[in-house]
Amino acid sequence: MIKVIQAKKIITMNPRNPIATHMSILNGKILQVGSMEKIAPVEKYELDDSFKDLIIMPGLVEGHSHLFEGTLWNKLYCGYFDRQKPDGSIQKGTKNVTELISNLKHAEDKIEDSKTALSGWGLDPIYFSDKNLDRLILDKVSEKRPIGILHASGHKLNVNSLGLKLAGFLRTGINHDGLPLGKDGIPTGEIRGAETIALVTKHVGLGKDWLSGDAEGLRNFGKICVRAGVTTATDLANLQTDEAVEMMLKVTSEADFPARIVSFRYMQGINPKELIPKVLELKKKSTENLRLGSIKIVADGSIQGFTARLKWPGYYNGAPNGMWYTAPEHIQEAYELALENNILVHTHTNGDEATELALHCLEGALAKFPKNDHRFTLQHCQLASTAQFKRMHKLGMCANLFSNHHFYWGDEHYSLTVGPERAHRMNACKTALKEKVPLAIHSDAPVTPLGPLFTAWCAMNRLTFSGRTLGDYEKINKMEALYAITLGAAFTLKIDHEVGSLETGKKADCCVLEEDPFDVDEIKFKDQKILGTIKGGKPYIIENSA
């Protein structure tokens, strides 16, 4: 039966029909949007007026996130900022070492088995004022139970003495960049770098099984999406093993799973020639709720980790340039094969040299396989210059910029990584739009929390944690920001014909708000109350909204 949803205001993001009050829905898709008089169905229909005092807009589209945002929550959150759990409650931020110890002790009391490891994530000790974290401090929580806490960046881990001992590193004679030593010549318990961390994680409850094939984590991710007003989210780097794909197909088809997932096959440990047929096979498995068949390539590392590839003059503090994460030849080959086989590719480029390389590779690939509307997208693309945005436009590329970065790491970019001038141009949303590059903005959850309205706030205000405005010129306006988190992101995923605006024929995917975002002051944009989402006409209302 046709369902008609009534709202105080429906913001459609369709300029021909921008504002409405009613929307008729059949089989999960929109029949019409308008006033009741205009859209009243001839046949019998059911009216849902539960939104009559609320605002409805298109379901938000997160163009760069990772499903394990949902899985992390089975370990203790130790981050600096308050963060909402999948159940809606707020986990308070950890502001200093004393609080960290007390939170860990509290969590430790709840573990019954005496040998089970105590594990946490999200640690951000750069904000700690009191002291440096080492194994002896974590020993105060427990000496009998291994303890391990991953940092927010994912590139550092702190363990207690027992954790270090189980890994075989509680000894002298170690000479390794990833294991800094204390005055006693024994590692301090801070573990740096993915490969070193990998030697320790399984001893502190953070082993490989923690994040793989976890159905409960995906269900949690769905809950987080509802709270963020998101109805479509990317899973931007998944190895897509048979097991993982089966699990995702199963969970996303569950009757009450509230989001659509676009999962990209991560090009790692496989050469492009072997990858393409796999991705073409995966594409066939796509459903309404799980889109497969695209490729993610990681070209370089991160700017704050000094592993991104920068053009001259490199890092502001003189750190050596980062290394390639994927060989340039493989990027070129993957682009060629993807163009030939009509596969969408998103490429992580943080530094401007990585962006330059991606442009160079795509230029070469397009010369061999000319193609319109490929929508190859640069993800993060944080340091791109105006000249690079111009080239992106000419080559038909899109940009998904990391606006949240300014808030969390902007002060460090200013003083340490790239210096004032380049910090001002990072994530240059305005320039991208000016140069006609299709734009999306993202959270990279769980690197920063999932929340497109917060991301929009970041792109409009460009404020850092300390309150500095980074790059006034690159601010975008509210309409541009709202576009970037709906149709803009949908365009980069080649699903803008299905989602991103509310108009006839598209999916009835909505975000439900208390206030009209056009009435909300830009500086308060992140504080808007989200009441839930509608996916395919089915409402998901947050019960205990804080």
Binding site: A194, E195, G269, N271, L357
Partner: protein
């Protein structure tokens, strides 16, 4: 003491997998092989199936500076399962830096790192060293070799090859050097322990050397006798990179021989002249492996 491990490194397309296939084809050792499956050439599976007793495991996964812990897991499980190979050969991904991998290996006390065999593609090396995107990666890789292999030398004309070698000798401090075609390297040269040894210093040979125009020449005055065949093998061994040799020596019957070697043809002829044994050996700076050559020469003297 641990299981010896040799790292095979080098940029994409330098012949790492070909080198490993060559090794698998001929080795008598029980070798555990860890490869990354990123390359365009695959490990010849027929070699593995045919030699299931000797090749222990193949693990996928990219062994590079920032990603992948399959390597570590495979190494650890190998250790915990008590599967002890004679030697572990690890093929790094084309963009990996040997130093990063070696550091991680150093944390595993059941492994004894033997050295990095670093391959380069002679036909592309000079352009790669000028490439804006990859020159720094390739330079860092070359700096971190124990044995530097200039592969695919057949693709270059003689003058191009010498330019390529000039570039290498000017830009890098070279420890050991080999020129190869189709990545053909003797197993003993490849799986050698490159760690600096404190072993027997020579006193059987008096050595005078001088450096001129980027060449090193060693004047060798053997006090004992030398077998002609053994000396011939030694001078021709590509691992020492000897360019010229000339002089006299005595064999164990007291007969005197002349040597003439121009890098290609070696002539050892009996002579009636009663000369004191002395000969000169010449090689390019950074390439001629004087120390080991002299050590080996001591070994064959009686």
């Amino acid at each position: 003491m641990g299981i010896p491990l040799t790292l095979i490194s080098g940029y994409l397309g330098t012949g790492k997998t070909t080198l490993i296939n060559n090794l698998l084809r001929t080795t008598k050792k029980k070798i555990a092989l860890l490869v990354n499956d990123f390359g365009d050439v695959n490990i010849d599976e027929s070699l593995i199936e045919a030699r299931t007793d000797s090749v222990l495991s193949i693990a996928g996964g990219c062994v590079c500076c920032s990603y992948g812990n399959e390597l570590i897991e495979t190494l650890e499980s190998m250790n915990s399962n008590q599967i002890l190979p004679d030697h572990i050969v690890l093929e790094a991904s084309g963009i990996a830096l040997p130093s990063k991998i070696i550091q991680t290996i150093s944390l595993m006390d059941f492994l004894a790192f033997h050295g990095t065999v670093l391959l380069t593609d002679a036909s592309r090396l000079r352009s790669q060293l000028n490439d804006i995107y990859i020159s720094d990666t390739i330079s860092l890789q070359i700096e971190q070799h124990d044995l530097l292999v200039l592969n695919k030398t057949d693709l270059l004309k003689e003058d191009e090859l010498s330019k390529c070698i000039d570039t290498l000798s000017k830009r890098f401090e070279i420890r050991k050097f080999l020129k190869t075609v189709n990545a053909h390297i003797k197993e003993k040269d490849m799986l050698l322990d490159f760690a600096p040894s404190e072993k027997n210093k020579s006193d059987k040979i008096k050595l005078e050397k001088k450096l001129a125009h980027e060449f090193i020449s060693s004047t060798i005055k053997p006090t004992g006798t030398i077998n002609a065949d053994a000396l011939s093998t030694l001078l021709r061994d590509p691992i020492y990179n000897i360019e010229r040799a000339k002089g006299f020596f005595k064999d164990n019957r007291g007969e005197v021989f002349t040597i003439q070697y121009d890098g290609l043809t070696l002539e050892i002829k009996k002579t009636e002249n009663e000369k004191d044994p002395v000969f000169v050996v010449i090689g390019k700076k950074n390439f001629y492996n004087e120390k080991e050559f002299v050590e080996k020469l001591n070994g064959i003297q009686t």
